[in-house]
């Protein structure tokens, strides 16, 4: 059956199927589409074909009569078979000023990457709540993105007020604001810690110690598994070295190298 491209003919065709008995039941959309039939064909067609500038089947033009030579082409050449218009199927490269700024900022401040970051957003429009007239935001922690957005805002503001401010100046301005706020943040946490220790808080371990402890729990589990696996692999190596087909091999598998060498010495004594 020919592929049906016309959306408008769907009702006509379905009613035909119903009459013939291809379809046993009326589809749920049938009555509604009958009452409000589609009046536009939504199939996308290339403009060149719609304007009749090109045949729908490009093969027709390849095999057309060549007036100059008087011959017909009967077989497509390698050139004809090649995909002609690659650019149309290639994804365009999107370039934004923001990306360049991000690139510069994170190259200059690689440790900013090490700060934890939440990627989860409730509605995905958190950015729209931000007003970059100030760098600090209620909805967003201070990070490299703040510098980028603030730079863009400063540039836009600058354009609006028609003052002289280059991209670098705007970026530097945002960057120094960022430094100032980071310093404030750092002092804030230091003082908080000091203040609460003066009020009687005791910190039994540092953050690093705590982190190591958490890590160690997993390492302990892993160490057990690893020692088992090491034993097995060592035993396997032992079996490969040994001569093939001896019944003792299977016993050797369960022993470590130390046990094996010990046994050999014992045998010698015998």
């Amino acid at each position: 059956m020919k592929i049906q491209t016309k959306a408008t003919s769907v009702l006509e065709r379905t009613s035909h199927y119903l009459k013939v008995g291809v379809l046993k039941q009326k589809p749920t959309w049938y009555d509604i589409v009958g009452a409000y039939p589609p009046h536009t064909d939504l199939t996308k067609k290339p403009k060149v074909i719609e304007a009749k500038l090109q045949n729908q089947d490009p093969g027709e033009s390849i095999y057309a009569h060549n007036a100059a030579s008087g011959f017909y082409k009967t077989r497509p050449s390698k050139h004809d078979r090649r995909q002609q218009n690659n650019a149309i199927s290639r994804l365009p490269k999107l370039e934004f000023l923001e990306d360049q700024l991000r690139d510069v900022f994170y190259h200059q401040h690689p440790w900013e990457f090490s700060r934890p970051k939440t990627l989860v957003e409730t509605h995905g429009d958190e950015v729209s709540k931000c007003d970059w007239a100030t760098m600090l935001q209620f909805n967003k922690p201070l990070d490299g993105e703040s510098v980028v957005q603030r730079t863009i805002w400063l540039l836009a503001q600058n354009k609006h007020q028609q003052t002289e401010l280059s991209l670098f100046e705007a970026y530097d301005k945002a960057r120094f604001e960022f430094y100032k706020l980071r310093m404030e943040e750092e002092m804030n946490s230091t003082v908080s810690r000091e203040e609460s220790s003066m009020y009687g808080a005791v910190y039994p371990s540092t953050n690093i110690e705590w982190g190591l402890k958490q890590e160690q729990e997993h390492i302990d589990v892993w160490a057990d598994i690893a020692s088992e696996k090491t034993k097995v692999s060592q035993a396997n190596q032992g079996r490969n070295d040994a001569s093939v087909g001896e019944a003792d091999d299977i016993v050797d598998v369960q022993k470590s190298i130390w046990e094996t060498s010990f046994e050999i010495e014992g045998e010698k004594e015998k």
């Binding site: 100030t134 100032k180 310093m183 002092m187 804030n188 230091t190 003082v191 908080s192 220790s197 005791v202």
Partner: protein
């Protein structure tokens, strides 16, 4: 803090042991003129705030101090000095004199802070802050740079630049959540071994005057005092108490904590001399600047710092002749 005196056990004062001298509110000339003319403290406080901060609160502290001194003198026969600093030094380690200590140091801190302020000549309008002021990045342009070359060069040597010093000072003050002050102190670094070995300086302990070669910034909270020789090892002492209670076993192989190291080495021969205090407590900015106005308040305080007073308080500077690194 005010409630302390009431919770202390009251004993009937006997006439024989009654203390003769009592404290009265010190006079600070700038604040007296504000009170008499009923005008604002230009660039920082309204006249009502000055009244609340100094004349009312100061009076309360003085009364509290006198009251707790009276009670203490009734119960003990210690020799009593009339110098506020001596009283603080005598009572800081004694829990039974907690009232005297805290009233004394609160009064001292408040006076120290207010004495280092002068009115700002530039026109500044005091206004209540809005929530969005919380998000503002602090001002980078500022005035009131110390004119005294000695002080200025000492600040620059210790902190890098006046701007860095200002950032650190104001950030430390801004970070205080409860009551507290940030202090600029002159620090004597006698604990450096190289200095100890140098024959030109006598051993600490046998000392001549401490040698001040560095300026630093220190925070104190509630009724805290700057002097490290007094307050040293507070955290460590608290810890030892807890450990005694819990009877924890201490692993001998582990390194000591930072507090222990501090207790053992740092404060033995170190002295901090306060030269400037800025109060970061809420009561200072709530009336004039509102809940969100701390940044604005602190920036205004900077413009009002009287550097002449600070210079007068500075000890003689000893340039560090040996670079320790």
């Amino acid at each position: 803090m005010y409630r302390v005196a009431r919770t202390l056990p009251r004993r009937a004062p006997t006439l024989l042991s009654q203390r003769n001298v009592s404290f009265s509110l010190p006079t600070i000339s700038t604040l007296e003129t504000v009170k008499s003319t009923q005008q604002d403290f230009k660039g920082l406080f309204s006249s009502e705030t000055v009244n609340e901060l100094w004349f009312k609160r100061g009076q309360q502290l003085v009364e509290g101090l006198n009251q707790s001194l009276e009670q203490a003198s009734a119960s003990s026969s210690e020799s009593q000095s009339n110098n506020l600093l001596d009283i603080i030094a005598q009572t800081i380690q004694k829990p039974e004199h907690y009232g005297i200590y805290s009233y004394g140091s609160l009064l001292y801190n408040l006076q120290f802070f207010l004495e280092s302020l002068k009115e700002n000549s530039a026109e500044v309008k005091l206004s209540q802050s809005e929530p969005k002021d919380l998000l503002k990045t602090g001002n980078t342009t500022f005035g009131n740079i110390p004119a005294d070359e000695n002080l200025k060069s000492w600040l620059i040597d210790s902190f890098g630049s006046i701007e860095e010093f200002r950032n650190l000072l104001l950030n430390s003050a801004k970070a205080i959540k409860g009551d507290g002050l940030v202090w600029l102190v002159a620090e004597s670094n006698l604990s450096q071994n190289i200095l100890k070995q140098s024959p030109s300086i006598t051993e600490p302990g046998t000392t001549k005057d401490p040698v001040y070669n560095n300026l630093a910034i220190v925070n104190t909270y509630n009724a805290g005092v700057v002097d490290d020789s007094l307050r040293s090892g507070q955290v460590n002492r608290l810890k030892l108490q807890k450990e005694a209670n819990l009877q924890l076993e201490i692993d001998r192989l582990t390194l000591g904590t930072a507090e222990e190291a501090e207790f053992n080495t740092l404060y033995n021969d170190k002295k901090l001399l306060p030269v400037l205090a800025i109060d970061g407590s809420m009561r200072n900015y709530l009336l004039d600047y509102g809940v969100y106005g701390k940044q604005q308040y602190l920036e205004n305080v900077w413009e009002c710092i009287d550097w002449d007073v600070v210079s007068k308080r500075l000890p003689v500077r000893t340039k560090q002749f040996i670079n320790s690194y």
